[in-house]
């Protein structure tokens, strides 16, 4: 048996079911490793004592019929967790302890999982490097001073460094897929409406979607089937037939048609990314699937449209953080003064920037030119995909235009930071499922990911393709445990 923390989810479940290891032992192993890994700054809030108690409780009365029997899991700090501080990576919620549980995390606990703690993320999920968190940078275990991606950076780093067997993140414009790509892990953004948004701190409501992050496709499939549920508490939740994705997972994709969108070949893209994509195409063919060149003509407009729609919704969603009801408050002379001080001190720069952009694009006189036009672009992007899916079953692109970059490298250049999302945002705008799987290393030894985009509600096919490619790629992450103390 491998060291506990390096086992994947399915291995751990098997070992717990076979009583080779107890939930308590597993939980303590992850906690012990977390304590030696503080340098990575993955956790905002640790809930270790409580986790051990829950593990003991599980061991006393184990239920091996559950899908995640006694499995400890750390989650992104954007999910509200009952009685456990939930900050969204922001000072403004630094003292906020929910009295309620998000549907997605509740689904985890209902299947026997145990909360380890809350993982670092960009403030209100706004960022691509985890550098906007009020609680500081997260180190990518791949290399010193490398960003783990964002906004689910604490999640990707914790997963890659074996602090949690799987994790969940949220993805508004790439916040699961990009950090997965930067850390050599698997991350799925499900179809919009697949996972309930109830109890998830909102960033951009029409784009936000929770999803699983795992060390392999099979773990990812299992986690997806646990967290995805129809929820009447979320009016945008969709009641469709959800599969037992892991059970139905198969690597046979013979005869499938995979699209390669020419518009994703962007200027200045490193040759390594281009090569990776070509390699992906070849592997698809090796699996017996057909590769078809397709066009998604409005791709160029996706990023600008995204950076209008997302901030617009965010500017309104974040209005509730006003110092009146909960969270941080800075005393003021009067109501307006209190608002200004609270929000000036409580929010970080990137959040403020997006609130300002969002407020601007919704303002009277600018609404039609920006917000309305962006919504039209969004419709065109969705139409592009609909058109493409008349001929193909899925689409393959690189996950990101580069591998992980150094901490501080892009902090003063928001546009270059936003460009990180160029391949991922169209998927959110169209509400489609997308998965990033690790596909190779660049010359620095940093992981690179391939993104597979599926049809709406067709997570099964998407996971099957990822599963087949994963087998062909046989990716090996190169992590040297430099941070362990």
């Amino acid at each position: 048996m491998n060291d506990i923390t390096s086992q994947n989810l399915n291995e751990l479940i098997k070992n717990i079911k076979d009583k080779k290891v107890s939930s308590e032992e597993v939980t303590k192993s992850f906690i012990k490793r977390a304590e030696k890994s503080k340098t990575l700054n993955c956790y905002i809030t640790e809930d270790f004592d409580s986790a051990i108690n829950k593990a003991k409780k599980f061991d006393n009365k184990p239920n091996f019929n559950l899908k995640l029997p006694g499995i400890p899991i750390a989650v992104k700090d954007l999910f509200c967790t009952k009685d456990v501080k939930t900050t969204a990576g922001s000072k403004i919620l630094n003292n906020f302890i929910p009295t309620y549980e998000s549907t997605v995390t509740q689904n985890l606990w209902d299947e026997g999982a145990i909360l380890l703690g809350k993982l670092n993320c960009d403030e209100f999920a706004m960022g691509s490097s985890n550098e906007t968190s009020f609680f500081g940078n997260v180190q990518n275990p791949i290399d010193l001073n490398l960003v783990p991606g964002g906004s689910s950076g604490g999640s990707s780093a914790a997963l890659a460094s074996n602090l949690t067997p799987v994790t969940i993140g949220t993805d508004t414009g790439g916040s699961i897929r990009q950090p997965a790509s930067f850390t050599g892990t698997v991350g799925l953004k499900p179809t919009y409406g697949s996972c309930s948004r109830y109890g998830i701190v909102a960033f951009a409501s029409s784009l936000d979607q929770a999803g699983p992050m795992a060390k392999n496709v099979k773990d990812c499939a299992l986690l997806q089937e646990v967290i995805s549920s129809y929820d009447s508490k979320d009016s945008t939740s969709i009641d469709f037939k959800r599969n037992n994705y892991s059970k139905l997972l198969k690597n046979d994709i013979k005869g499938k048609k995979i699209g390669i969108p020419r518009e994703y070949r962007v200027e200045g893209m490193p040759k390594e990314i281009e090569d990776l994509w070509i390699k992906g195409k070849e592997l698809v063919k090796e699996c017996g699937a057909e590769v078809i060149d397709i066009s998604l003509p409005h791709t160029n407009f996706a990023l600008p449209a995204y950076y209008i729609v997302a901030p617009a919704e965010a500017s309104s969603n974040l209005a509730r953080y006003d110092g009146v009801k909960y969270g941080f408050r800075s005393q003021g002379e009067n109501l307006i003064d209190m608002y200004e001080k609270t929000r000036s001190e409580g929010f970080g720069n990137e959040v403020k920037r997006r609130i300002m952009i969002g407020t601007y694009v919704l303002s009277s006189g600018y609404y039609d030119a920006y917000y309305l036009k962006a919504q039209k672009v969004r419709k065109l992007i969705k139409n592009d995909f609909d058109e493409a899916y008349k001929t193909v079953d899925a689409i393959i692109t690189p996950s990101t235009p580069s591998s992980a970059f150094k901490i501080g490298e892009k902090t003063n250049d928001p546009v270059s930071m936003y460009l990180n999302d160029i391949f991922t945002v169209p998927v959110n705008l169209a509400g489609l499922p997308g998965i990033s799987i690790p596909a190779g290393l660049d010359n620095k030894g940093y992981p690179l990911g391939l993104q597979i985009i599926g049809k709406a509600f067709d997570e099964q096919n998407l996971l099957n393709i990822a599963y087949a490619l994963e087998e062909k790629i046989n990716f090996q992450n190169n992590i040297k445990e430099w941070w362990i103390k």
Partner: protein, 492 residues
């Protein structure tokens, strides 16, 4: 200061320096939807609870909380739309109206901006000068805000979120109202329609019905409307009228001074009876409306509307028509009886077994006077429809006279006492036996021989005296009609 020159009651005209101005009024009525729970949450809407006891996580806008539409409120809005003879829109959209205030937890109000649930309709007013049709522009659903309380503490403001998220219908009229009385009749008619439908209790004291009033003036012969001012949140008909009166005259004064009216939002000061500027158009909030991404567009199919139409009761206009045609009531009587659903129910209960004409007179006369005096609603009437009907039948069959009925009615009012019991106990039954009455009249004639002589010699107005004497001797119980007949015979 006000110079209402015209006799024409259908217009409110203000004259200054020989210039005649016409006042144009439009109302935005905010009616609280009659519903046990809020528009997007399951918290109670009950009035008068302790502060912050009816607040869910959604109402207080906790992180990650999402609105879920209350289907009942949608039905109520559609029913109201049907009552306003309005177009029900198959697709409507909830938007966010963004602004910061301490009692607005989300930092936005969920409302309907571009695509309301109900479109154009009409409300018919019966005015002394004929029917007036007041156009309805739209009806949309929105959340109410909480309440800021500034007078508990000198330093702090307290916030009560019980109202936060309560469903309101905003009913926007066209600028079709022309007089203060039309405003009065319009509000009452709206309230009546909603009470018939059970969609709003119309209770202005509890704030279930409030209005923003739009006022403008224009020269009488001008075709174009003047610049309007909006007076926010007026909560009684009287204040609406006072506010309009003040505001119209203020605007005329400004125009007469050669200045221009600024389009602005104003407040009505109920202590000074004047309007005050709240904010100008330049300072107006930019609410940054956009479709709420937490809610899908509301799609209502025709069957849903058709099914709701089946639940719609007979409404005042139709009921009035029926009362006039079937019961031969005057338009005036019918109007009074249908103005309130409870009154119409009471009326129809009474006439089930009683004479329509008598019932109409007793209800609109004595009963209304009694309710007015005691400040009661008809649903709280001290006399039940059943007993009133009984009393009317006793008049009709001659058991009691109309005069005695008045005394009986007074006694009944003390606790819905059965009129038959009163008559029996007090011996008030009318004497209609001709033999007994003859005896009685003979006594009166014998006792007043001198007057009889005078009468017979031509002083005919003494007839009334004899009737009075006969009634007096009978203790008021004699059937006056028979007394008349017998007296006439005897005095020939």
């Amino acid at each position: 200061m006000v110079d209402k020159m015209s006799e024409d009651l259908s217009q409110y005209l203000i004259t200054r320096n020989k210039n005649v101005y016409e006042v144009i009024i439009g109302l935005e009525v905010h009616a609280q939807v009659l519903s046990k729970s809020k528009l997007f949450s399951s918290s109670s809407t009950k009035f008068g609870a302790e502060p912050n006891t009816q607040v869910s996580l959604v109402d207080a806008a906790f992180p990650g909380m999402l609105p879920v539409i209350n289907e009942f409120c949608i039905k109520q809005a559609i029913k109201t739309g049907i009552g306003l003879k309005a177009k029900i829109n198959n697709k409507s959209v909830f938007d966010r109206k963004n602004y910061f205030y301490a009692d607005l937890p989300q930092g936005y109000q969920i409302s309907q901006y571009k695509y309301p649930i109900v479109g154009e309709g009409v409300v018919i007013l019966d005015m002394p000068y004929g029917q007036r049709e007041i156009g309805i522009e739209r009806l949309h659903l929105e959340q109410d805000a909480g309440k800021s309380i500034h007078d508990i503490d000198p330093e702090n403001t307290f916030v009560d979120l019980n109202r936060s998220g309560v469903a309101l219908m905003e009913i926007v009229s066209k600028p079709d109202l022309r007089t203060l009385n039309e405003v009065n009749v319009y509000i009452k008619k709206l309230r009546s329609i909603m009470r018939y439908l059970g969609t709003c209790d119309g209770n202005m004291q509890e704030g279930s019905l409030r209005a923003d009033v739009n006022v403008s003036v224009k020269k009488k012969d001008s075709k174009t409307l003047g610049t309007r001012c909006e007076i926010k949140n007026v909560n009684s008909i009287k204040f609406m009228q006072l506010a309009i009166d003040y505001e119209a005259n203020r605007q005329v004064d400004i125009i007469e001074e050669g200045k221009k009216i600024d389009q602005e939002t104003r407040l009505f000061d109920t202590k000074k009876n004047e309007t005050r500027s709240m904010r100008s158009k330049e300072d107006a909030h930019d609410y940054r409306y956009f479709p709420d991404p937490d809610l899908l567009p509301l799609e209502i199919n025709d069957k849903f509307i058709k099914d709701l139409k089946k639940e719609i009761p007979e409404l005042p206009d139709e009921k009035k028509k029926r009362f006039i045609e079937k019961f031969k009531l005057s338009a005036y009587e019918a109007n009074i009886l249908v103005s309130d659903i409870e009154t119409s129910k009471y009326f129809e209960e009474v006439i089930k077994k009683s004479d329509i004409k008598l019932s109409t007179n007793w209800i609109t006369g004595a009963l209304f006077a009694l309710l007015n005096e005691k400040n009661l609603e008809i649903s709280q009437s001290p006399i039940s429809a059943k007993n009133l009907s009984k009393m009317i039948n006793l008049i009709k069959d001659g058991t009691i006279s109309g005069k005695i009925a008045k005394s009986v009615f007074e006694i009944m009012a003390k606790g819905d006492i059965d009129p038959e019991k009163i008559i029996k106990e007090k011996g008030l039954k009318q004497e209609s036996d001709p033999k007994e009455l003859e005896k009685l009249i003979d006594k009166v004639i014998n006792d007043n021989q001198d007057k009889v002589m005078e009468y017979k010699s031509g002083k005919e107005k003494l007839f009334g005296y004899f009737v009075g004497q006969a009634m007096k001797v009978s203790g008021g119980k004699a059937n006056p009609q028979l007394i008349n007949e017998i007296l006439k015979k005897k005095l020939k």
